[in-house]
Amino acid sequence: MFSWCKMMKSQTIFAVAALVGLGFVGTALAQDYQRPSVSGIGSVPSEAQIAAWDIDVRPDGLGLPIGSGTAELGEEIFADRCAQCHGDFGEGVDRWPVLTGGQGSLTEHRPEKTIGSYWPYSSTLFDYIYRAMPYGEAKSLTPDEVYAISAYLLAENEIVERDQVLNQDNFAQIKMPNQANFFADDRSKSEAYTERCMTNCKTEPVTIVSAAPELDVTPEDE
């Protein structure tokens, strides 16, 4: 191919020759073709690059950064960075999420699911606050600050003492009161509906018990 190219004198001859040349090489390629496996794409990250992003924390404590804090310290940071939405004690301002209280409400008509009443693992608190809060300025807290704020929220939920120092070694050991109430999806057993009734499916007359227009909460276009 290349030796052919060198001999070319004009554009026209070049074009014709290229076609001929390609035809020849293409045949050879088709015969020799072997489907390659994927390789050589992507690059290996450095330890530092992984560490910069690897912020997740698991219930067994894997991922907890070195640091510590107490509820006493956390109260101040919370007042400064969180209370405008979540309230001074995590009670929630207006419609912003409630973070404390609600214990014993899970079977009530209006359950209040909070860190104290619902969350199964303390690690989730660290993982979430560190990555997502304060809302509007995520990932701006230091590990020490997150330990302190978490300690404050756990103390307000009466799960740890106000003066307890929480750190990378004891944070994951905190037992959350509602943990035992969680279980893995069992719908394939408890909700295995297979009956496809076609006629006389209702034993009693059908009556309307609620109609959306009565509530009148559907948004309307201006």
């Binding site: 390789s39 690690s123 209702k202």
Partner: protein, 418 residues
């Protein structure tokens, strides 16, 4: 160009006011309805050229076909949801601009040049990919529905929102193009104890979810395109996770990290949220699959029959996160008797499927329902069935048979029955 257009507008305005005279037609006065048979502006004058709209937009006459939200649902529209206008959609594909959006930290605007996907953890060789890197890999294009686990969640205690946009519009269906996660997993070499994958987004919410390796290897993808074009920012541009049949929250948008581990993470979105509280105070977790569900989109509160007796097509959408829709039955009497509807096709697994049933309406009052079943044999349950197992506080995974009340005047209302 500009002057030509102005002239056209000027002429059009004149023609409109003098319409009846100019065309010399029929009835005069305010009562005269515009007739399709009169001369129209567009019959005579030139339209815009090919250079005024580099990226096309819908007709102005379709301006009502938009996503809407329910302001009272959330404290802030930045962590909230909008709904797809299902009643106005045809077929089974959701146009990109009408795809519902749910963000936890707003719609992130990500520069692809500054974005990377990192895969690390229990692997032989951690790797980082740019968008360009991913696009060099073997890709596939697949049709899948995505549904927020909270779709229908406002209806647990009774009929609440009057419109199928609001009762069922947290579902969309698109063709996704991307690389299979199994390809990426083979490239990094998952260690034998790598049983779970944590997916994490690059947005301010840093959304993270744990996904079992079995699902990851089965049919998950990292997609960069939706319906033939790059993902929209609201859908995770430049790349998102696709987890077919599983709740939308797991389809992490703006995805930047996959960590392989031996255990799940129990992130906030799989503990505090997206767990299903039952009446006895216990809660189901890892309720990933979106069960078989359906809704009649026409007639609906948005598409009433309004005194139009006679022939109508009853039409709607069905889907199942477990597989393909096998069939849909329609009841006109609140669930006492059922008629098999026609599936329009193509019928694909984990994909919206359109169903239709022609109907001659004599103006009678009706309670119409749709009931889908899938190729696993699962049949969509009633509200009574779902409530008897779950109570009314589970928020998520409401796939109960839905009822529209067709009134004698053709108006349609969202109702619930016993």
């Amino acid at each position: 160009m500009t002057s030509a257009l102005n002239r056209r507008r000027f002429l059009a305005a004149g023609a409109a006011s003098a319409g009846a005279v100019a065309t010399g037609t029929l009835t005069a006065g305010a009562a005269k309805a515009a007739s399709p048979f009169e001369m129209k502006e567009w019959n005579q004058y030139l339209g815009a050229g090919v250079d005024d709209e580099p990226y096309g937009t819908p007709s102005d006459y379709e301006a009502h076909v938009v996503r809407r939200n329910v302001p009272w649902l959330t404290a802030d529209s930045v962590s909230s949801i909008n709904f797809t206008p299902l009643a106005d959609l045809e077929g089974f594909i959701t146009p990109n601009g009408l795809h519902f959006e749910r963000h936890h930290g707003g719609r992130a605007i990500v520069d692809p040049a500054e974005h990377r996907l990192m895969i690390h953890g229990l692997v032989e060789k951690p790797l980082v990919f740019s968008l360009e890197d991913l696009k060099r890999l073997p890709s596939i294009s697949r049709f899948y529905f995505i549904e927020c686990a909270a779709n229908g969640g406002m209806e647990w205690r009774g009929a609440q929102l009057n419109g199928c946009q609001f009762t069922h519009g947290m579902v969309s269906c698109c063709q996704y193009t991307g690389v299979k996660l199994s390809t990426l997993m083979e490239m990094v070499g998952v260690k034998p104890n790598g049983k779970w994958v944590m997916a994490e987004g690059a947005d301010a919410a840093g959304m993270n979810r744990s996904i079992p390796m079995e699902k990851v290897m089965d049919d998950c993808m990292i997609a960069w395109a939706q319906n033939g074009e790059a993902l929209r920012p609201g859908q995770g541009y430049p790349m998102r996770l696709v987890v077919p049949g599983f709740e939308g929250n797991m389809w992490v948008k703006w995805i930047r990290r996959l960590e392989i581990g031996d255990l799940p993470w129990f992130a906030r979105e799989e503990t505090s949220k997206y767990t299903d509280l039952l009446a006895d105070g216990r809660a189901r977790m890892f309720t990933w699959v979106q069960d078989c569900n359906s809704v009649i989109t026409r007639p609906s509160p948005e598409k009433p029959w309004l005194d139009r007796k006679g022939f109508h097509m009853i039409s709607g959408l069905a889907w199942s996160g477990r597989g393909a829709v096998k069939g849909v039955d329609i009841s006109l009497d609140g669930g006492n008797s059922w008629i098999p509807a026609d599936l329009e096709g193509p019928v694909m697994p984990k994909c919206l499927t359109r169903f239709n049933l022609p109907f001659e309406w004599q103006g009678q009052e009706m309670l119409i329902q749709s009931r889908a079943y899938d190729d696993t044999g699962y049949v969509q349950p009633t509200f009574a069935q779902n409530r008897s197992v779950r109570g009314v506080n589970s928020i998520y995974h409401n796939n109960s048979i839905h009822t529209w009340h067709i009134k004698p005047d053709g108006k349609v209302e969202n109702v619930q029955l016993v």
